[in-house]
């Protein structure tokens, strides 16, 4: 006979403001199988949890229903309290009367009725719950870090320094990411490459880190502690073991007109190339889409002729390697919103309208102009330069309603760098609001305005057009009664919105992690689990989750690394026991379940008699592989396979209880 305890939480006033919690508790006390029912202001508090512990002992409860928030929030809290009370933690379920009821409805009888219905379905479920025991699985103490930008580098170094193996995958020929392209960093104006490149070298030399550049993750399967990852090693066409990185090949390469990604298209590179002089590894790859050998069918071959190390091999194919890892840190970074996005600002139409990354390259000592800020069109040093902040960000009409977060700061930095290099030049910044909420950030912006005399104009720009060789920026000053402002500029820099990578959606789908409508990866909880994803064992670091500056990316990377290190601190880990199990007495061995199982967790079992003769076959679940989706359960013709925690009995119980009749 079930003796269920029902605990209704007020959640302060979050639930009790719209739901009559006293009535819910009263009605619940009369539900079938309920032996005890009460309500309390904060069930998740220590006294609240203690009520569960005490009630289990006093009323000899065999099951618990906590009607409070979402189980995603506090299921583990209350299962722990249930275990403390002395019964199996999986005999506790949560009825979600906050997110699914009190927060989405006004106070009314219907709202209370709904809360009662929700409690009743969960009581019906718990009556059919069985004690479950966590499954122990081994942990592979190797981490995979996807992306070799500053976030990936930090995460990899932290995990490797803790003594664990790390595999880093970077799709570009070199690690370094966007940070390697930056000139100076705010708010200290220290040189980006000077602080980054030592870390890049550390990654390449670390005994615990295996670096795969020019490689991409092809597929991810398995689960926390036991992921199996297929990595695609794109054909580099250069044998990096033989290659000495002398540079003879790219100096002689005749295909010299390829837009250089590292310089944001402001200069050209060759078909065989290293992205930048400090690249790690500092060995070239052949860009096959632009190489004459590959596009013109075997013509050219100069690099092979000049290579003394005989490292060039045009026959190298894409290869795949399989690795086993226990945790994955996703640090795939961001992209900038670009082409055709601002027809009114003339990006792509006028050569001297550039984006922030292009300005970084112009200001960088390693850039195409050796750090002298020159117009891309004619190479002249601009006398007047206009920066437009929020070019795309916070603009619902453009589809990006979020703030790109770093533009206020880098725009102030750009204007400052320009003024430091050209004391007589004029710099204007059109802005909506200045968001400078980091350590030393506001001081930095004030310094740009007060010490370096950058002119900040609060208002938006409606149009940029060319007239007599000048770019006319038509804006408005909203602090001066919306006075129109026209500036004849030599150069315009757009602080374009930070967007997710083009392939972010497919990356998320490969890893089965959630993403938001802008394709940024979703964290498991916005406040309390900011680096975990909904897929246990996969963590997020850096701008793949949302727009972030360097310090934030680094701290998030370290946080992700600490999650991986914590996981690796045990030889085996407990997994949720919500897995499928077969009743092999009834199973007919049709193995329909095997066909639909995405994890290949179902095997064919021989049922033998005492003499060892095979009588028939049945399905058997490998509980180490089963993830508990339950597709097999819905597929089974005679209900011989069932999912623990979401069993046929439990689900039917929930549905039948909706009518409020004894069942």
């Amino acid at each position: 006979m079930a003796r269920i305890g029902v605990f209704i939480c007020h959640c302060g006033e979050n639930i009790s403001a719209t739901v009559d919690v006293v009535k819910v508790a009263e009605v619940a006390s009369k539900m079938q199988g309920v032996a005890f029912s009460t309500e309390y202001k904060y069930m998740c508090s220590a006294p609240g949890q203690d009520k569960i512990v005490q009630a289990i002992k006093e009323h000899k409860l065999t099951g618990i229903v906590v009607a409070a928030c979402s189980p995603r929030m506090h299921e583990s809290t209350f299962r722990k309290a249930t275990a403390e009370g002395g019964i199996n933690p999986y005999l506790c379920e949560m009825a979600n009367i906050r997110e699914h009821c009190s927060w989405v409805h006004e106070r009314s009888e219907e709202t209370t009725e709904k809360a009662i219905d929700i409690v009743r379905t969960l009581v019906a479920k718990v009556r059919r719950n069985a004690p479950l025991f966590p499954i122990k699985v081994p942990v592979t103490k190797t981490a995979l870090v996807i992306g070799g930008g500053i976030a990936g580098i930090q995460a990899a170094l932290d995990i490797a320094n803790a003594g664990h193996k790390v595999i880093m995958v970077e799709k570009q020929p070199s690690i370094g990411g966007h940070m390697s392209q930056l000139s100076e960093t705010f708010p200290t104006l220290d040189c980006s490459q000077c602080i980054l490149t030592p870390r890049m070298v550390e990654v390449s030399q670390h005994p615990n880190i295996t670096l795969h550049t020019y490689a991409e993750v092809e597929s991810v399967s398995g689960f926390i502690g036991n992921f199996e990852v297929k990595i695609k090693m794109k054909a580099k066409s250069v044998d990096h073991v033989k290659c000495t990185g002398c540079g003879e090949c790219w100096q002689k390469c005749p295909s010299k007109k390829i837009p250089d990604e590292f310089n944001a298209g402001l200069s050209n590179r060759t078909a065989i190339y290293t992205p930048f002089p400090q690249a790690v590894p500092n060995k070239p790859v052949i860009d096959r889409a632009n190489c004459t050998w590959f596009t013109k069918g075997g013509k050219c071959g100069i690099c092979q002729k000049v290579c003394k190390a005989e490292a060039i091999d045009y026959t190298i194919q894409d290869t795949f390697i399989d690795v086993k890892v226990g945790a994955i840190v996703t640090a795939t970074g961001f992209d900038l919103k670009h082409t055709d996005f601002f027809p009114e600002y003339g990006y792509g139409e006028f050569k001297d309208v550039i984006d922030g990354m292009q300005f970084e390259r112009l200001a960088s000592a390693s850039g195409p102009t050796a750090g002298v800020i020159r117009r891309p069109s004619d190479g002249k040093v601009p006398e007047k330069i206009v920066f437009i902040a929020c070019a795309g960000s916070r603009d619902k009409a453009k589809g990006i309603e979020y703030c790109s977060k770093i533009c206020c700061m880098y725009t102030a930095k750009h204007a400052m760098l320009y003024k430091h290099k050209n004391h007589d030049g004029k710099a204007y910044v059109f802005y909506m609001d200045i968001r400078a909420a980091g350590k030393g950030y506001d001081e930095f912006v004030r310094r740009a305005i007060e010490d370096d005399h950058v002119e900040y104009i609060r208002g938006r720009v409606s149009k940029v057009y060319e007239h007599n060789g000048k770019l006319i920026v038509k804006g408005v000053d909203t602090l001066l009664n919306s006075t129109p402002v026209d500036i004849e500029a030599d150069m315009v820099v757009l602080a374009t919105a930070i967007v997710a990578n083009k392939d972010a959606e497919s990356v998320a789908q490969k890893m089965h992690i959630s993403y938001d409508k802008h394709h940024f990866f979703a964290e498991a909880h916005p406040k309390l689990k900011p680096v975990e994803t909904n897929t246990a064992g996969i963590m997020l670091a850096g701008a793949c989750q949302s727009a972030k500056d360097i310090p934030e990316s680094v701290s998030q990377a370290s946080a992700s690394a600490s999650k991986a290190i914590a996981l690796f601190s045990n030889n085996e880990m407990s997994r949720e026991p919500s897995v499928a199990a077969v009743n092999n007495t009834n199973c007919t061995g049709c193995l329909l379940c095997q066909d639909v199982c995405p994890y290949l967790a179902i095997e064919k079992e021989e049922i033998k008699d005492r003499a060892g003769n095979v009588l028939r076959y049945a399905a058997k679940v490998n509980s180490g592989l089963c993830q508990g989706c339950g597709t097999c359960v819905a597929m089974c013709r005679n209900k011989s396979i069932d999912l623990q925690g979401f069993s046929n009995e439990q689900m039917l119980g929930e549905v039948m209880s909706l009518l409020n009749k004894p069942f």
Binding site: S70, P71, R72, N96, R98, E99, H100, W103, V104, H105, E106, S108, E110, T111, E113, K114, D117, I118, T121, A508, Q509, H512, S514, Y515, D516, K517, A522, N534, T535, S578, V596, P598, Y599, Q627, G628, C629, G630, T631, V633, A634, M635, L643, G645, F646, N648, M651, L652, E654, V655, M656, L658, L659, K661
Partner: protein
């Protein structure tokens, strides 16, 4: 006479739509009280006989919702659910069941507003369709009478 208030049962997956409904809550979206959510690990887990049981138990409309195609936490459960729904729908349509009462949708964990809209749309639609009575009329007595009739003939 007061307006007919339908009872809607939502069969949702844990990872996308349940979380989407949570998001609707945290963003305080307001929607009709008529819906009752039943949480499954995955839409692939949903045994469609449960839909019939829900109708038998006084439900007037049903929502099935999970992760968008390719976004399934378990890789392919939503595809199995979709395929099962296609077959199941043709079967019950053939039997004369009004499939308007069942709505199959995808709501992701980021689509709290879509969840609220979906509930409101389905509630309005089912309210117009009126109470579902077909199964209630088929109580066990009438089953028995039919049986007896068949035998005596």
């Amino acid at each position: 006479m007061s307006q007919f208030e339908p009872k809607i049962v939502a069969f949702v997956c844990n990872w996308c739509t349940y979380a989407g409904a949570d998001l609707a809550g945290t963003s305080r979206a307001k929607y009709a009280t008529n819906v009752r959510i039943i949480r499954f690990p995955c839409t692939g887990r949903i045994d469609f006989m449960l839909l019939m049981k829900a109708f038998q138990n006084g439900s007037d409309g049903i929502i099935i919702s999970g992760c968008h195609p390719n976004d399934c936490h378990y890789t392919s459960g939503n595809f199995h659910a979709r395929r099962r729904w296609m077959v199941f729908r043709s079967l019950i349509e053939f039997m004369g069941f009004d499939t308007e009462r069942i709505t199959f949708s995808w709501v992701s964990a980021a689509e709290g507003a879509k969840w609220a809209d979906l509930v409101n749309e389905v509630t309005t639609k089912v309210r117009e369709l009126g109470p579902f009575t077909e199964f209630k009329n088929l109580d066990y007595n009438s089953f028995n009478q039919l049986d007896n009739g068949a035998i005596t003939k």
